[in-house]
């Protein structure tokens, strides 16, 4: 949604030029208040912006652009029903106001009404065939349709509309990254790299694009390129917690525990509420046999995010490995309150209950684990089945 909002703000500034026809000219004073509203909107002061736009409408009751801008304010505030009312009002005043159709479509998309969104955005394109924003939104709509029903792939449409958007506005960096993401999903890594590189040509200091590219290289099994990309991100902004985190993950995957710990400790310094960093520090220490350190970090991760099931699970592992079986059982029972389908917890807890002779509880957990049918845990599933069978089957 962030991307759509980005587009909308661009369209907002361009609003007056986009309107083909203005049935009634607004008064000079109304235009002044509308412009004031745009200034506030750019400062993200939504309430003042709304007040200014409404003042503009009070002065010129048929001022389409002011209605359009109020619609944008409501959409940004998450008040979609109100936004729809205002965009429709714009269309009533000026049926050729392309931007309103585009915004209306984007609002329908935010409400989950994809087909209605496509209709409205297509109308925006008919009214103004050079609208890069509209093509971008249309591409996002087709991506959403694919996400909802992967069997009917609309990716080709999406690709075509993203391309059209970049043709119309080559500086639309966000389109390059969207396209790159789409190519990546399709496994077309070469084009994905090209699009990320194009985005970086437009903005070489965009850390998030560097990190996405690094992750793509990891997926392509090119660790050296990935490492260089992550290091580049850290070089651009040494205070970026995200960059250090990606580098830490990279070192972790490479088995370089000490380097990884250094990076995650840097993340914690930069971003003290990063549950992910504490989790990783805890997990690495767990793997290295530093149980006290692991326990402290994992507890901190859970303090920050009490819903962090993986951290809770690993904390259970720390207890088991340090011989505190009862504590491990208590911790894993807690994990299952957070996430009743946490497969690894069900499996380990079932085994632990079996180990301490609580056969009934063991069968209950293992049977639930088996019923999940986790593909990545085939060997564990087989073990669970054997244990359950030896105890007389599932209850």
């Amino acid at each position: 949604m962030k991307k759509i909002i980005f587009i909308i703000v661009l369209a907002l500034a361009a609003g007056p030029a986009l309107a083909k026809k203005k049935p009634v000219m607004p008064s000079e004073r109304a235009v002044y208040h509308n412009n004031q509203g745009i200034s506030y909107l750019n400062m993200n002061d939504l309430d003042r912006a709304e007040f200014e736009f409404k003042t503009a409408i009070e002065l010129s009751p048929d001022y389409a652009e002011a209605y359009n801008n109020i619609g944008v304010v409501y959409k940004t505030k998450g008040q979609f029903e109100q936004a729809v009312i205002y965009f429709k009002r714009v269309i009533e005043i000026d049926k050729n106001y392309a931007s309103a159709y585009n915004h209306l479509g984007a609002t329908y998309l935010a409400q989950g009404k994809v087909d209605e969104a496509i209709k409205k955005i297509n109308k925006a394109i008919r009214k103004q065939p050079t609208s890069a924003d509209a093509y971008y939104n249309l591409a996002v709509c087709y991506l959403e349709k694919t996400r909802r029903d992967p069997s009917k792939s609309y990716v080709k449409f999406s690709e075509a509309y993203f391309k059209k958007a970049t043709e119309l506005n080559p500086n639309l960096k966000i389109v390059h990254t969207e396209l790159a993401q789409m190519y990546r999903t399709l496994g077309d890594y070469e084009h994905a790299v090209i699009r990320y590189r194009l985005a970086l040509e437009d903005d070489p200091h965009d850390i998030s694009t560097w990190l996405k590219l690094g992750n793509l290289y990891l997926e392509m099994k090119e660790p050296f390129k990935a490492q260089n990309t992550f290091l580049k991100a850290v070089e651009i902004n040494p205070d970026s917690a995200e960059a250090h985190q990606q580098l830490g993950l990279f070192y972790h995957n490479e088995g370089r525990n000490e380097d990884s710990l250094t990076e995650f400790e840097e993340v914690i310094k930069l971003q003290p509420i990063s549950e992910a960093a504490y989790y990783k520090v805890g997990t690495i220490n767990l793997n290295m046999g530093n149980y006290e350190k692991a326990m402290a970090s994992l507890k901190q991760a859970m303090e920050i995010n009490p819903n962090f099931a993986d951290a809770s699970y690993n904390l259970g592992l720390v207890y088991i490995k340090s011989g505190q079986t009862n504590e491990a059982i208590r911790q894993w029972e807690h994990t299952l309150i957070i996430d009743s389908k946490h497969a690894r917890t069900l499996y380990n807890l079932g085994n632990t209950y079996n180990y301490v002779g609580e056969k009934k509880k063991s069968a209950e957990k293992l049977c639930k684990f088996i019923s999940l049918g986790v593909k990545e845990l085939v060997a564990e599933t087989e073990t669970a089945k054997r244990i359950v069978l030896s105890g007389g089957g599932c209850p």
Partner: protein, 358 residues
């Protein structure tokens, strides 16, 4: 009906009549928090299941976020009011509720990072965690704040006591779409619940600010109604002029009707049900009704119509059972009618509320 005719009097016609008793009620005599929450607490007791909502922990301690500790559980408790078999206790009402253990407890924590608010809501039954929810909300000014907490409330109902009125919940959810309006209302409520007259000026400003942010937000008006009713009660118990505050109560109610375009939230039946049509000029607020009856009772006693006066006071106490002065008046009248048993009972009720009336 004579009584009803008087109840129907317009608020503008309320007149101040000096209290006739000799005992003085000062701040040390009355536990104001207990007194002002008595009505709500008494109503709470009849519900089968109770949920206690505690303050939420502020994890990130960003400047200006203090109100969320009170505001998030307050909003959930308001939404829980749509439940038909459960009641939520929060804030001052929780502090002054009897010590009986609630069936469920809600605790939580929030974290704010740039443009985002993350809330964790924990539901416990006894001492064991029953379920936990994580909410990620765009912040500060986004309607999802209300939508997400309303959705969580639905999940809380599923875990505790499923029946709830969907229409009521929808109305509560749509009471305002403005987070700043809600924030100002909460800041006003936090000060109001100190029940310290010196803090009421600032509380009033917050409620007025809430109205500015959303003129249709009924809670902002309700906050002011409660605040003026408290000031009226405070002055009355201290033998000071109070009718001006009751006029302000009426003024806020009229403003609420005038500016509120959204459908009002249907109210749950209460123990002290006031079955009056909300037509213009008629009283619906229990403090205003009670005062109208009180004034009529004083008039009757002035004319030595003791039985009539007692009837008015009893009727008034049905609406404001927390009014020690009224109990005291009733006791004196009962003495005059020779009903010593009822007089003693009324004196005792007065003394329970105001220690200095012993």
């Amino acid at each position: 009906m004579y009584i009803k005719r008087h109840i129907m009097r317009k608020a503008a016609s309320l007149i101040l009549i000096s209290a006739l008793f000799s005992s003085l009620a000062n701040a040390e005599c009355i536990d104001w928090g207990r007194l002002m929450t008595k009505y709500e607490v008494d109503n709470t007791l009849k519900w089968k299941k109770t949920i206690l909502l505690e303050s939420f922990k502020d994890f990130t301690k960003q400047p200006g976020d203090d109100w969320l500790s009170f505001g998030i559980p307050r909003l959930i408790s308001e939404y829980l009011a749509s439940g038909t078999e459960i009641t939520a206790i929060h804030g001052a009402a929780a502090k002054y509720s009897p010590s009986a253990k609630p069936d469920f407890t809600i605790t939580g924590m929030f974290q704010r990072t740039e443009g985002k608010l993350r809330i964790f809501v924990k539901l416990s039954e006894g001492s064991s965690l029953k379920r936990q929810w994580q909410l990620d909300i765009p912040y500060p000014n986004n309607k999802q704040f209300f939508d997400a907490l309303a959705d969580t409330t639905c999940s809380i109902f599923e875990e505790t006591s499923p029946p709830y009125d969907k229409g009521v919940l929808k109305s509560l959810k749509n009471a305002t779409a403005s987070v700043p309006a809600f924030e100002n209302y909460i800041r006003g409520t936090m000060l109001y619940q100190s029940f310290d007259p010196d803090k009421m000026d600032v509380a009033k400003t917050w409620f007025e600010e809430s109205k500015k942010m959303d003129v249709h937000y009924r809670n902002a008006y309700k906050g002011l109604v409660d605040l003026y009713a408290f000031l009226a009660m405070h002055n009355k118990q201290n033998r000071k002029a109070y009718s001006g505050y009751l006029e302000s109560v009426q003024g806020q109610i009229l403003d609420m009707g005038r500016f509120s375009q959204r459908p009002p939230v249907p109210e749950r039946p209460k123990r002290y049900a006031i079955k009056l049509d909300n037509k213009q000029g008629e009283l619906t607020n229990r403090f205003l009704i009670a005062n109208s009856l009180f004034v009529t009772g004083l008039n009757a006693s002035g004319q030595k119509q003791w039985l009539e006066a007692a009837r008015y006071f009893e009727e008034a106490l049905f609406y404001t059972p927390e009014d020690a002065i009224m109990w005291n008046h009733l006791a004196k009248i009962r003495e005059r009618t020779g009903d010593t048993y009822k007089a003693r009972e009324a004196y005792s009720r007065a003394a329970e509320l105001n220690k200095c009336l012993k």
